[in-house]
Symmetry: C2
């Protein structure tokens, strides 16, 4: 029987000793070994299980220390009869089956209406191409550093410190680290009574809403915007005003005049990733001043500014204590551990602390201390540098892949960072259908419906993020997705066979292309100029903050224009049929499918044959 | 300069390598070492600091891996210029001083009114005699076991698992452990969709209040009772009904008929430690059924039942899904880590999950997993056995000390457990004054004012707990406290010199005491009978669940009655002047101070001289 109860599985990571121990404990607790019953001697058990006797001796020693078993001299080893001390008498319990369907619904006073969660499947890690923003691939997690910080926080002296802070508030060590190492990155100065720790951003938003929002309050939110905030504000009774977002962030206009509070995500607007410009920030603060509005700044993903130094947080520009600043440590680290924080004037912080205490006491102090060590040991800074590098690389890779395989698909304008692209597909594209079909191919993209409050959302939009997919899978994923989009919208696409304009022959191409300058739009909203030089070489350059140049060669063959860039388009050789329609040039691939449209900027030759 | 920046302190626990590393990181971050500047070679730095070169080499290697410094071949080691990548341009920030006084108070919509916290000082550990319930002396914390469980939860594979549960809900491993190992102790069966994890009990109470309470709801709470619950219910607008507590727990009477919800702490009533009897439990459930009332059961300290097996939780007796069960893992462990849970029907749990998600996402998953390991490795069971033993021992020690030094001071009736005694001092005692004076002597006791909602509280009551004081300090603490109480109330005490009744002389004592049976009340509410046998021996026994007996000797000398028990009263020899007043006997000590009153139960002799 013992052998059946204690089955040893050599394929497990778990040590023999630990396996035997756990099975014995389980057997004792569920009653397979009766209380007070005698256990086999260590020699006998070792024989039966086919393990070294010493292993069993150690297990027994351990169980004895823990009180599961008792050893009686000259008699043997017994299950401790007192093991169930403190348990109820099971005979007193009514072992009835409770009705499965609750009759308590009618008692609910404040039912929660939540926006549907993103359609990301729970087993997203099994997909080959997960482009899901906010999920993180395992390679990013600073395992070694977190473990070290966590261990530092769990030595006896530290445990004594933090366990006694319970109920008293935040860990002073973490406050100091946030004050000196985290918020200065955003230009914010604060004393420690102007900072409060929270269990992630969501709790911060909850507490701030509880304090400032009721049915008399009108709040401006971004549209499209963060659905969880809309839910929270509406739960608290707020009237919402939906403020559009343009290339410079949330609009500042007279719609805001009626508002008491503005909620905004200026770093990287959720979900468009647009960064609010400095002038828009100033305008927003000015408007808030004129209309006496409180601003809730959700400083989302402030670490991912790739193309330029980040703008200062609104809170750092605030001269009137009008901005409540909410943020968290990098979501990669915070995911699971959930350390967020609020910066505001001490009067607000003090009231928020009362609210936090009443509703939860304080965020778990072991985590506060572990994160404090993570910061104080310099791991956080190093981790941020690393994340910045990794995300920037992926972000560029995705942009390059989109530009190559889906050349007409982005129109959010020039974004500077963030970890996701807002993508506008061909106008006949059904985004929901695309999402389903893509998932069948192992590609996860994010639908955007949930970000829109007002019912109507653009059916042909979706999001692709870089936090969850390793760099080396991005290109293949986008290439497959592009093929799928092509299939789904093929019937609406222009074909070479029915293209408007004139298909150019070998001779005409040879006569007309040399010396031509073409201009097209990169997917990320900046123009690209291509010069086809008469000597068969070509050069290209893009504008924007991160302008690029490349060179390559071009030639004509079989009635097609062929080109090969050194770096761009992965240096691949590719040929296109060329149609000219007025000042527009259109390229079609070898299957006669439309690829890209360009403007002919300069050509000194007559295109008529 | 380096030597000044990097001061090595050999008295620290921190390794040399770690000290040098941290100082360098700090120097880099605060700009003592400018970005891009060259650092001394490892040889030179080692010389300057007087440490082995290898130490510095390892530090440099480490900093390079983390991105703080870069090594350029043939040139040296430099501070990485990109270290501030992702920081804002500090020139754009307005380095103004924000007004210190907030102007935001007028925007608060729901100001929190909280009952004052207990007067326990933050540095309570420095006091010699901390009798503060709910604070825990460091020796109790299962450091080794927690560290082990925590490490198990922070290996790569585990981190990958729990960090990806973010947003999806509770850790299935923890749910399973609670379902199979924790709630069965209380007689509760539940499937995993009937359990939800919370950040401690307070969050559980908050979420349940949010869901079930608004201004239309009347809630019965215990009086005296848990103040944080009153605050929470009132914050949510509830009308409160204050229900008295007797020796069997919260009263069940017609006052409850008007209530929609009953909040109760049946295991050990907060703050009186009274356990609700089985018949009261049945009556409460019956009342709830008749009046269609929802019960919130806060299963406080269910682990500390010392004198008998605990009663089953209300939830385990509930046949109608009428009980919402709230509890947490042992507060010793949960303090700081804060893992609590709710058991209710799946309809309620599902709604509570929505609420929790909206207000906080989920309790930190690293802690959920670490606690799951703490349970699955059997540490929790062993820890509970250990705690039970330690607290029981202290609880008995405190009772014995109170009985010896403050013989007339408890009247909560026979309690069965809990970790604190509710103590009623002499009726002229000013509890608040006692608390202050006691603190000056290093004794911390808990005032009870905060437990009473309705303004009036008994001035002469206080609480003494055993969770924070080691067993070997209890007697001395009570002895000192007794002296202080005696000083403070001396003027009201009966003195031998003005005692009513007749002082017995040597001769009368000798004639009358042999064969006398005396009866007195133990401080914990059970009678004690003492027989003075003619041969100079005596025997005593107490009633109650844990009745005790002891023997000793007695004699008469210098006009006083002397006695020495074998075990009771610490086996000390003590003499008393004896006054008889009708059927009452009063003892006075050698300073003529009143000690104790007893009933003379049997005496065959005439006491008149």
């Amino acid at each position: 029987m013992l052998k059946r109860l204690i089955h040893i599985d050599n394929s497990l990571d778990e040590s023999l000793q630990s396996q035997i121990r756990n099975k014995l404990v389980e057997g004792i607790l569920i009653g397979s070994f009766a209380l007070g019953s005698r256990l086999p001697s260590s020699r006998k058990l070792a024989e039966q299980l086919g393990v070294a006797r010493n292993t069993v001796v150690l297990v027994y020693q351990n169980l004895q220390d823990e009180g599961y078993i008792v050893s009686r001299e000259r008699s043997g080893i017994y299950v401790n009869e007192k093991i169930h001390q403190g348990w109820v008498n099971q005979n007193e319990v009514s072992h009835h089956y409770l009705p499965k369907v609750s009759d308590n619904q009618h008692r609910f006073k404040h039912a929660v209406q939540t926006t549907n969660q993103t359609a990301c499947p729970a087993d997203w890690q099994k997909y080959n191409f997960p482009f899901i923003d906010g999920k993180f691939d395992s390679s990013l997690y600073p395992v070694k550093e977190w473990r070290d910080a966590n261990q530092q926080a769990n030595v006896t002296r530290e445990i004594n410190q933090w366990s006694h802070l319970q109920g008293l508030g935040d860990d002073p060590m973490l406050l100091e680290q946030i004050r000196t190492k985290v918020i200065p990155r955003r230009g914010i100065q604060a004393s420690s009574n102007e900072i409060m720790i929270t269990v992630g951003t969501q709790q911060a938003l909850h507490l701030v809403s509880q304090l400032f929002v009721d049915a008399s309050v009108t709040v401006a939110v971004e549209e499209p915007g963060y659905p969880e905030v809309r839910d929270l504000l509406q739960y608290n009774g707020a009237k919402l005003v939906y403020q559009p977002v343009d290339d410079n962030g949330m609009l500042v206009d007279s719609q805001l005049d009626q508002c008491d509070i503005i909620y905004t995500t200026p770093s990287h607007q959720t979900p468009t990733s647009v960064t609010m410009s400095m002038s828009r920030r100033q305008a927003l603060l000015q408007k808030a001043k004129e209309e006496d509005i409180l601003i809730i700044e959700d400083d989302f993903e402030f670490e991912s500014n790739f193309l330029r130094q980040p703008h200062p947080a609104l809170r750092s520009l605030d001269t009137e204590n009008r901005v409540i600043y909410i943020s968290c440590l990098s979501k990669v680290l915070a995911s699971g551990i959930q350390i967020g924080f609020i910066v505001a004037d001490s009067g607000v912080i003090s009231e928020l602390k009362k609210l936090r205490k009443m509703t939860m006491r304080n965020p778990p102090l072991n985590n506060q201390r572990a994160v404090a060590y993570f910061l104080s040991l310099g791991y956080y800074d190093a981790f941020m540098l690393h994340l910045h590098k990794v995300f920037f690389e992926r972000w560029l890779t995705l942009r390059e892949a989109l530009n190559t395989y889906l050349p007409n698909c982005i129109d959010t304008g020039p974004i500077q960072g963030g970890t996701a692209y807002w993508i506008t597909g061909p106008k006949q594209l059904d985004g929901e259908n695309l999402r389903e079909k893509a998932a069948e191919l192992g590609i996860l993209i994010e639908p955007v419906k949930r970000y829109f409050a007002k019912g109507k959302h653009p059916e042909n939009c979706f999001r692709m993020g870089v936090t969850s997919i390793p760099n080396d899978r991005i290109r293949a994923g986008v290439s497959k997705l592009a093929e799928l989009i092509h299939q789904l919208t093929a019937e609406y696409e222009e074909k070479l066979t029915d293209a408007s304009g004139k298909l150019l022959s070998n001779e005409v191409l040879k006569k007309l292309l040399p010396g031509t300058r073409l201009e097209c739009q990169m997917v990320y909203g900046v123009p690209c100029t291509i010069d086809l030089l008469p000597d068969g070489s070509m050069s290209g350059h893009t504008s924007g903050i991160d302008s690029e140049t490349d060179t390559g060669r071009w030639w004509i063959e079989d009635g097609m224009y062929w080109r090969q860039w050194k770096l761009w388009s992965y240096g691949e050789v590719k040929g296109f049929y060329v149609v000219v329609d007025g000042s527009q040039m259109k390229w079609f691939d070898k299957n006669y499918c439309f690829v890209r449209q360009l403007d002919i900027k300069e050509h000194t030759k007559n295109l008529d044959p």
